[in-house]
């Protein structure tokens, strides 16, 4: 029977409840094992030598002294990771980022690595490696890197997406354009036009757990990798390809993960640890320091964005246009493209055009960060929308409601929307008591909307029913924030059994079919779809077994509330058979009972949120305080509402840090100056108020329970919502994120002076 993923309204028994997560006790007792909590017999300590230069040719690396140090078991350079990528440019970039080949492209770029019997020996060995560099001119700013005189980072890059193929290489890797209609004509019909330029600085995902792995390569060509990752199947593929292994010979186990937010979707240290283990013939544990996490992993793009929006007197937007420049680090990605797609996704527009330019800079390779690229675009657009509402004399919520996208709207990036939540989140905000609460002196209120696509992808689930009637659920999407609880709820719902009868685990790469990463807010969306499918397959077998036990036709057996029930007058004397009773007989009725599912979870419903916040600005110092914060977001269906709220609150908090404080600060020498939590300050408990949440449920038609991804959208509106609040409090439009005290003070003083 083919699986039908379409939404069917049903009454839920388990889904929507709030039980304790199955991995909870281990996490509050210190028993849960994260990346660095695992050890193997005979394991060595791996450490990485990193470039202190932002841009430099590697002329020579002499490892002989390090190799001679007692206790050193392996030293590797790029030579030990030969290029096996076969012309795959994206994989070559990953390889080059793991270990610089001919040039160091940023401060922190790996150039060599050692494995030694202990950390002290490994540290000493790094100091004995001699690297001869030829320092090259560098560029770290996105706008400067676009100038024609800027230092060229990669002379094989010719801008893609231009009408004419360029003759000269450039730091601009790609131009992407989206939209429809005629913006020139649209602006001609506008009574008011707002045009503004914005900048956002680079931020890090800031997961508290540094990257960590233990790699063990055997002489028979097989290997094991224990690692904190958002996608162990993808890590297996990448590592196997870079090391010239067959994927099935590399078994990757995902540890508990101490935060990722997109930052653990990319390999950095893992191929290096495997190469060290291969050379040393022993297991190697490699754990990044916090300094390395900041200098070499993450971060998101820095951006520079121009926005122009025009509207008629009645508040109808006639045209919207944006040019978005996103830094990518030294390797091509698709960050500007995504920003250009999301920028105007909240609105119903007849004339819209966005152009994205992706720009290489001498900073770490940009990694995904929660709804990657969308928060910066939303900051620029939603700030301009607020300005335009002000010029029109309209309430900012009403102005957005008037122009909000609806079911049937052709989105600014192409597709036509199905049922969506932007209108309902705006209506909810309009009626929220927060919007009517009084403000004190120096306080301002802001609100903003946000959009994220959400993703589905390849997914595989095994559901095994034990002879005692308990159920184990093996999933392949890494649990980053409670998905084992939500997937257990879904399995309990479908099978009609109690949540406590189930145990969900994340299976390793040798125990389950391929799964895409936990990214794109897909964990619960896609694995719940596969879980429903697997449970339905198991139910089919359970019915067959019950029919066998009763000696009746399977067509006369239905599954109701965890029991096989015989239907029809002739079976009236047959009692129900519970899952447990059927499982107990399984050895005699055909063996183990299981349900499997392998599918591509299409139809991830798009997601919208609207946030409100109140900020107090000290006009003397420019310092800010978040007074109140409210998140309204569509979840489709909240499977475990507490963890949905957690996603809303967590995204908002990250957005608050990004908006007000967090930024990568580079010196003129191209070196990162704040590679630690003291100077790169993420919000602490005393910086924040409670974060109120309101979950809306507009069912996703492409999921049996109506589920949409919820993880990412919550970081999209905060930059803009806070910028609007600060601008209202300070009486001056803030155009540069983060709005740190010096920037706010400078803006206030410029306004006073002007």
């Amino acid at each position: 029977m083919n699986f039908d993923p379409r939404f069917s309204g049903r009454k839920f028994a388990s889904v929507g409840t709030r039980p304790i997560r199955p991995d909870g006790v281990d996490k509050v007792t210190g028993r849960a094992r994260y990346g660095a909590d695992f050890n193997m017999a005979g394991q060595l300590v791996g450490r990485v030598l990193r470039s202190p230069h932002a841009h430099a040719k590697i002329l020579k690396i002499d490892t002989s002294k390090a190799e001679k140090l007692a206790g050193v078991k392996a030293v590797i350079t790029a030579k030990d990771l030969p290029d096996l990528t076969g012309g795959d440019a994206a994989m070559y970039d990953i390889l080059d980022n793991c270990m610089a080949r001919t040039k160091a492209l940023y401060d922190g770029h790996a150039v060599a690595a050692v494995a030694a019997i202990d950390a002290r020996t490994a540290r000493q060995a790094l100091k004995l490696i001699e690297v001869e560099y030829e320092i090259l001119p560098h560029v770290t700013d996105v706008d400067e890197a676009m100038q024609h005189h800027a230092p060229l980072i990669n002379d094989t890059i010719f801008t893609e997406g231009l009408e004419e193929k360029p003759v000269k290489p450039s730091n601009v890797t790609k131009r992407s354009q989206f939209g429809h209609g005629d913006v020139h004509q649209g602006f001609g019909h506008a009574d008011f036009i707002v045009e503004r330029s914005f900048k956002t600085e680079q931020t890090h995902q800031g997961y508290i757990e540094p990257h960590a792995c233990v790699a063990s390569v055997s002489s028979d060509g097989t290997a094991e990798l224990w690692v904190c990752t958002q996608g162990h199947f993808v890590y297996r593929q990448h590592c196997a390809q870079l090391l010239g292994m067959e994927a099935s010979k590399l078994r990757v186990t995902s540890s508990e993960i101490g935060g990722g937010f997109g930052g653990k979707t990319h390999v950095w240290a893992e191929p290096v640890a495997l190469a060290l283990s291969r050379k040393a013939g022993r297991p190697v544990k490699l754990v990044m320091t916090r300094d390395e996490v900041f200098r070499a992993s993450g971060p998101t793009s820095a951006t520079s964005i121009d926005v122009k929006i025009g509207a008629r007197k009645d508040g109808t937007i006639t045209a919207a246009e944006a040019t978005l420049r996103y830094s990518a680090g030294p390797y091509a990605g698709s960050w500007a493209e995504i920003g250009a797609m999301t920028a105007f996704a909240c609105y119903k527009l007849d004339n819209v055009k966005t152009v994205g330019y992706e720009v290489l800079v001498n900073r770490p390779k940009t990694a995904a960060y929660r709804a990657p690229s969308a928060p910066m675009a939303a900051f620029a657009v939603e700030s301009a929308v607020d300005e335009l509402a002000k010029e029109l004399g309209m309430d900012p919520v009403d102005f957005r409601i008037k122009n909000a996208a609806q079911e049937g709207t052709r989105s600014s990036y192409g597709p036509v929307y199905g049922p969506i939540g932007i209108g309902p989140t705006l209506e909810a905000v309009k009626n929220h008591p927060h919007m009517k609460a009084p403000l004190k002196k120096n306080q301002g209120r802001g609100m903003a909307c946000g959009f994220w696509f959400n993703f589905g992808g390849q997914t595989c689930v095994d559901l095994n029913i034990g002879m005692d009637g308990s159920v184990s659920l093996a999933v392949g999407t890494v649990d980053v924030g409670g998905s084992r609880a939500s997937l257990s709820l879904v399995a309990a719902e479908e099978l009609g059994i109690d949540y406590a009868q189930l145990k969900a685990v994340v299976a390793d790469t040798s125990s389950l079919g391929y799964n895409d990463m936990t990214d794109g807010s897909r964990g619960t969306f896609s694995s719940s779809m596969a879980t429903i499918s697997a449970a339905r397959n198991a139910i089919k077998i359970l019915r067959e077994r019950a029919a066998q036990m009763w000696d009746i036709s399977v067509d006369d057996v239905v599954w109701e509330q965890g029991h096989a029930v015989a239907k029809g007058d002739k079976h009236g004397n047959l009692g129900k058979l519970s899952l447990k009773e059927i499982a107990a007989e399984s050895g005699k009725t055909g063996g183990p009972i299981a349900g499997h599912s392998e599918l591509v979870a299409d139809g991830a419903g798009v997601s919208f949120a609207t946030h409100i916040c109140d900020i107090e600005v000290d006009p003397e110092t420019g310092s800010t305080r978040v007074i109140r914060y409210t998140v309204v977001q569509d979840a489709g269906k909240a499977v475990h509402p507490t963890y949905v709220e957690g996603q809303y609150q967590g995204g908002a908090a990250q957005g608050i840090g990004w908006a007000l404080n967090e930024e990568y600060i580079y010196g003129k020498d191209g070196r990162l100056q704040n590679a630690g939590f003291l100077d790169y300050r993420i919000p602490v408990c005393s910086d924040l108020p409670m974060i109120d949440t309101q979950i809306l449920e507009i069912p996703n038609p492409n999921h049996p329970y109506g589920v949409r991804g919820v993880g990412e959208t919550s970081i999209v509106p905060p930059l803009a919502a806070i910028a609007n609040a600060v601008s209202n409090a300070a009486g001056v439009r803030m155009t540069h994120i983060p709005m740190s005290p010096p920037r706010i003070l400078a803006a206030i003083e410029a306004e006073r002076g002007g």
Binding site: V28, Y34, G646, A653, F677, M690
Partner: protein, 158 residues
């Protein structure tokens, strides 16, 4: 290099170990004694993931040397539950979903235990400042604060 012999008390047990002079207490706990509940998030005392209680004082174990533990009394997250009976804070963290990834949780539990030992009836603001040395990137702190408030309420009644 010869190690330094240290005799200390950890979660009520007498423990002896050898450590190097430059080895942190966090490394000793994790790498020598297998107590991996305390985590290294930064190694510079900025994140609080390695929080322990050392002679009734909340410290970052990454900023304490292993050799300094001689004759001291150490409490770690592994010592919070009694057998299979969770500490009220542990139970409340579970009930309130005060953790998502959970990497910061041991540090928060220890910091909250220390806070409630010194101030059994803290205001929200006192909780927020009391836990300001511990970083959490997942939760936005809302559910952590609520869990601590609830635990304080229950513990006061007990």
């Amino acid at each position: 290099m010869a190690g330094i012999a240290v005799s200390t008390t950890i979660n009520g047990d007498n423990i002896e170990y050898l450590c190097q002079p430059d080895e942190t207490l966090l490394d000793v706990l994790r790498d020598r004694l297998g107590l991996t509940g305390a985590k290294e998030g930064c190694g510079t005392g900025d994140c609080g993931a390695c929080s322990i209680i050392l002679d009734n004082r909340l410290v970052c174990s990454c900023l304490v040397l292993g050799a300094e533990a001689e004759g001291r009394r150490i409490e770690t997250v592994e010592g919070m539950a009694h057998g299979d009976q969770l500490h009220t804070l542990q139970q409340k963290f579970l009930e309130h979903a005060a953790l998502q990834c959970g990497i910061c949780t041991p540090g928060f539990l220890i910091a909250a235990k220390d806070l409630l030992a010194k101030n059994p009836d803290p205001t929200e603001e006192e909780i927020r400042f009391g836990l300001a040395g511990n970083l959490c990137r997942c939760t936005g702190y809302d559910k952590i604060v609520r869990a601590v408030q609830d635990a304080a309420h229950v513990m006061k009644g007990a």
